[in-house]
């Protein structure tokens, strides 16, 4: 009986281009020796592919994040190689886990210390809505204290889901207008959270 095992007896010759992702060129005007496009697109492209995440992992979802960062799922493939552990340097606040009410001012402080532009990813049911902890001591979703860009559902979400959330954030970063942060709408949004 043949074994249900496949041996890799015809390995593919490694091709360096399989392992390097090159971002597509933004639309623009091209001719011999020059290329013209809008600054916004270039900045968006650069930001999108070099997001520095700040992991804020408080419980079980943080374990999934460790897998996401590890070699198997490898968040670094998306340009997020470097975790920053100071909010001043980071672009993306990844909140993973149960946020107790006592932790809420800390999380808010961390958000306030991040420089604009900043994005927030709420990973897991707890960060998104309080999850199974429908109780007096747990914050019922971090959107009660800071604005959230992308929610990742699951308890816990699989690493693929977290990666998907990061890719959604990348799309936001890529397509966001450079002036969005100065807009009335954005200021009003922050105003509803009492953030200047």
């Amino acid at each position: 009986m043949p074994r249900p095992v496949r041996f890799n007896i015809h390995p593919k010759q490694a091709d360096i281009h399989d392992n390097i992702a090159i971002a597509d060129m933004p639309a623009g005007l091209q001719g011999e020796g020059y290329f013209a496009t809008s600054l916004e697109k270039v900045v968006g492209l650069a930001r999108k592919n070099s997001i520095w995440p700040l992991p804020f992992a408080t419980s079980c979802c943080g374990i999934e994040f460790m897998a996401t960062m590890g070699s198997h799922y490898d968040l670094a493939r998306f340009g997020s190689e470097r975790m920053g552990f100071t909010p001043r340097q980071c672009d993306l606040l990844m909140v993973m886990g149960t946020i107790a009410k006592k932790m809420a001012p800390v999380l808010r402080q961390v958000y306030l210390q991040m420089a604009e532009p900043r994005w927030v990813l709420a990973v897991g049911a707890c960060a998104s809505s309080g999850g199974i902890f429908d109780t007096y001591s747990v914050l019922q979703g971090i959107d009660q204290i800071i604005p959230v860009d992308v929610y990742v559902p699951g308890c816990p979400p699989r690493p693929e889901a977290i990666l998907d959330g990061v890719i959604k954030i990348q799309e936001l970063v890529h397509n966001e207008s450079l002036r969005r942060r100065n807009s009335e709408h954005y200021k009003n949004l922050l105003g509803t959270y009492g953030i200047q």
Partner: protein, 172 residues
Amino acid sequence: MALTNEYIQQRLQEKFGELVTGVEQPYGMFTFEVPKSHNLKVMQFLHDDEALGFRFLTDLTAVHYPDAPGRELAVVYHLHNLAENVRIRLKVFTAVTEPDVYTATALYQSANWMERETYDFYGVNFVGHPNLKRILNVDEMDYFPMRKEFPLEDQTRIDKDDDMFGRGGHIN
């Protein structure tokens, strides 16, 4: 001589007589009740006595019995004799309208944080405690969450469907 439950009971009754009530031994652990005015005297005796020597306070907590008028709050002390490895449980009851109990911090240092926790969750007012304020919950909290009249669920979230989240139930 091993420290038996019978011996502890005999010594306590010699010293305090009728004040020691509600003696039971669930799972072999000697448990008794004293009036709340005597909690310190009894613990002092258990602590100082050479033969008894309960010098360690393992745990201190409270229980809320809403259906026992005048005895709604029970404060429970777990004492440990480390040399003999014997544990006992001491209870005092108080009315929820007047939740004053003398603090054990002078006798056991470990009572300090545990009494703060008990105050935090049950609102037991430990008379004489050096720093009786909330320890685990947020400072702004204005109720005692483990008392049974308060719902367990967070009331700030209004978009949760009560049927789906099992809210609105009651223990009775």
